[in-house]
């Protein structure tokens, strides 16, 4: 019914003939342009507010920003900002102190390198060889090896992780715990239990609270003296001990806040995926005598795999930008122990080191893109195979 209406409209307008032909031509033109009309507004808005800032930031990251009399001055300084972060005065802040070593750490490092070499050799011996592929693989293997070296040296006893490593820890620990919890809760909530709607709404609550508010809330909760868990700390003999002053305690507090806030996101998407599982398949498997574990492994997991990969990718992109929690909860401290890359860039910005801030942002962009692309390239083909 609805689709016939335009021709009726057209017929009515057709009463005045000169106007009608012009209208027809106009609408025909609009029809030709439809594709452009749909996509251009969005593209223009994003262009306007992204490409321009991107270029300006790139320029800023390559220059020195200084206040002078009556304004400011931006002086081109090449790669000085990046150099400062990687080998210069800011190295301890950004990369940390890669001075620790432990037998276990070196074992892990050697294992990673061997794995990379094996996969590289396997690729070189395969049929589908191309120059771009070889270069890409060598470069990305080198980056992964460097990352492994950095992790091993800074996390072993005697080393100290910088904001880059801390961010990676936040992202990976956070993602794993959130996904695990979200999946477990979603599995439980799909059962036909009375009152599951209550649980669903309650589980969504943390996502609705502003991250700044959550950060302050966790500051209240983690207070060992006036917080609600004070009796527990007292019993453990930690009465006046502020665990937020201990590097790993502080990091744990930040991660707890992040997990509390973002597990609901995983939960709700996985719940939706589980509820759309085909009932017939499960029924058939039950009739054939499959147990619950087999059903989970052979029916549930393949069905939620595609959702999971997208879900993890989206969460990963957002998790790399964590800033409110460490900023409010610990102010990046003790020292720089809980600083994420974004917070590091924010602190540099506050100190009016705009060049350094922009350089950090660019490094973060590079890290996110690299991890995201590797993730997509590693996981997607495997999901497609199943």
């Amino acid at each position: 019914m609805q689709v016939e209406r335009p021709s009726q409209d057209m017929a009515q307008i057709g009463a005045s003939s000169g106007f009608a032909s012009r209208w027809k031509r106009l609408s025909a033109q609009a029809e030709l342009l439809a594709g452009n009309v749909f996509v251009w507004p969005a593209v223009l808005v994003v262009l306007f507010l992204s490409i321009f800032p991107l270029l300006v930031s790139l320029y800023l990251s390559l220059s020195r920003f200084k206040f002078v009399k009556g304004g400011f001055e931006i002086k081109f300084s090449g790669l000085a900002n990046y150099k400062k972060l990687i080998v210069g005065s800011e190295q301890g802040h950004f990369l940390g102190a890669p001075e620790g070593s432990s037998p276990l750490g070196w074992l892990v490092f050697v294992a990673v390198v061997v794995l990379l070499l094996v996969s590289l050799v396997r690729y070189l011996r395969s049929r589908s060889l191309s120059a771009g592929g070889v270069i890409g693989r060598v470069v990305s293997s080198t980056i992964v090896a460097f990352g492994a070296w950095l992790l091993v040296r800074t996390l072993s006893a005697g080393g100290r992780p910088g904001s880059l490593v801390v961010t990676l820890i936040y992202v990976f620990v956070g993602l794993m715990v959130q996904y695990g919890l979200g999946l477990g809760l979603a599995l439980l909530a799909t059962q036909k239990l009375p009152g599951r709607r209550f649980f669903r709404v309650v589980f969504l609550l943390p996502m609705m609270i502003t991250p700044v508010g959550i950060a302050y809330m966790f500051r209240m909760l983690t207070d060992t003296d006036k917080g609600p868990f004070q009796p527990i700390w007292q019993a453990l003999g930690l009465g006046l001990y502020s665990w937020v002053n201990h590097p790993w305690g502080a990091r744990a507090a930040v991660m707890l806040g992040d997990i509390w806030q973002w597990t609901p996101f995983m939960f709700i998407v996985l719940l939706a995926a589980l509820e759309s599982l085909s009932v017939e398949q499960v029924e058939a498997a039950l009739v054939d005598g499959a147990n619950r574990w087999q059903i989970f492994w052979h029916i549930t997991v393949p069905a939620i795999l595609p959702v999971s990969t997208t879900l993890i990718l989206i969460r990963m992109i957002e998790a790399f930008k964590i800033v409110d929690l460490p900023n409010v909860l610990t102010n990046g401290g003790p020292g720089t122990a809980t600083e994420s890359l974004t917070l590091h860039a924010f602190i540099a910005w506050r100190a009016l080191d705009l060049g350094g801030s922009a350089a950090l942002s660019y490094i973060l962009l590079f890290v996110v893109t690299f991890v995201g692309m590797s993730y997509v390239n590693l996981v997607r083909p495997r999901v497609a195979e199943e």
Binding site: Q2, P6, V43, M208, I209, P211, A272
Partner: protein
């Protein structure tokens, strides 16, 4: 007897013991979620002395509740500083979400139903001209002149060099470019945006926040809605097109109603993002356009965080969002799913 306890009642039901364990686990997490919120609620009724002398859990038993914080925030000294940010937040979040939903949905529809072939040569020319303009402005050329020259140069180069390159990009490239805009940390974009809005005299206005949130939320809308549209069978639209309906009419009266659950879920998502955003608002707004997250953070005064005021603010901030979420709960799961499955 014991065996019966463990036996499933039907094919899908669980045994009573299994059910008890499920309830225990769900209840435990509900406790984890609700306790911090309960603590906020209790704290909002405490006097500063009750907070500072140690943990008190139950009102009327442990301590005498007081409405002083609620009074201070809602009708007392701070009421003006609460109402204005509240109005700002509502206007900014709603407007930017609706706008990004409109533009993003249209773009997502375009990306699933039309073939776009932006030529690589044209894109490279555009970026090259933009770099030139930025450098010229940085070096001191007035921006109006730089932009004019840049546009002229772009058109000129496009007609000559740009046409030589035959390679072009596709729809998925456009979509990936859009989502890649989310990867940039806000700190990276905020300095140029700050300067930009300063040039247009838009700093500390709601318009600045609306435009910024619109741009940051558009990629999410495009991605979620694009996957949603891919699940809608194209045959219906083809029939309508044969009957003479224009693309716009097909989009408006056939596709949009079909995609309603996805629209609702996406809307809620973007709304929550815009409602709670802190860092960009911190840079772009001063006293006039202040939003609620800033008001919350501002309660961390020189005398230390004012927990009681903060609790009230956080609570009044989540009430509207939770109300909307409960009203739309049925749609959220369904809408999100289809968005995620095909990603």
């Amino acid at each position: 007897m014991i065996k019966r306890l463990f036996r499933r009642r039907s094919l899908f039901g669980s045994s009573p013991v299994g059910m008890a364990i499920s309830y225990l686990a769900l209840g435990l997490w509900a406790l984890v979620v609700l306790f911090p919120i309960y603590w906020l609620f209790v704290t909002s009724f405490k006097l500063p002395v009750d907070v500072n002398t140690g943990p008190y859990y139950v009102p009327f038993v442990d301590f005498q509740p007081s409405l002083h914080a609620w009074h201070y925030i809602l009708v007392g000294d701070l009421s003006n500083d609460t109402i204005r940010p509240y109005v700002n937040t509502v206007i900014v979040a709603l407007t930017s979400s609706v706008l990004s939903l409109m533009l993003g949905t249209a773009a997502a529809y375009g990306l699933t139903r039309f073939d776009y072939r932006p030529r690589l040569g044209a894109i490279l020319t555009f970026i090259g001209c933009l770099v030139l303009v930025v450098f010229a402005v940085v070096l001191g050329v007035p921006w109006q002149i730089a932009v004019l020259v840049g546009v002229a140069l772009f058109v000129l180069l496009l007609q000559t060099i740009g046409k030589r390159f035959k390679r072009s990009l596709g729809n998925s490239d456009i979509a990936f470019w859009l989502i890649s805009q989310r990867m940039l940390p806000p700190v990276a974009v905020v300095i140029p945006i700050y300067v930009l809005f300063q040039q247009f005299h838009l700093l500390d206005t709601r318009a600045a926040l609306i435009i910024t949130y619109l741009a940051t939320n558009l990629p999410i809308v495009v991605w979620l809605m694009r996957d949603y549209f891919q699940t809608i069978p194209i045959e219906v639209e083809e029939c309508a097109a044969i009957d003479g309906a224009s693309h716009y009419r097909v989009f408006w009266s056939i596709v949009l109603p079909l995609a309603l659950p996805g629209l609702v879920a996406t809307f809620l998502f973007v709304l929550v993002f815009a409602w709670n955003e802190y860092l960009l608002a911190l840079f772009l707004s001063g006293a006039d356009a202040q939003t609620l997250p800033l008001t919350v953070a501002a309660q961390n005064a020189t005398r230390g965080p004012q927990w009681w005021y903060m609790s009230v603010l956080i609570l009044i901030m989540i009430i509207p969002v939770v109300a909307i979420a409960i009203a739309l709960e049925r749609y959220i799961a369904r809408g999100l799913l289809v968005g995620a499955v095909k990603g």
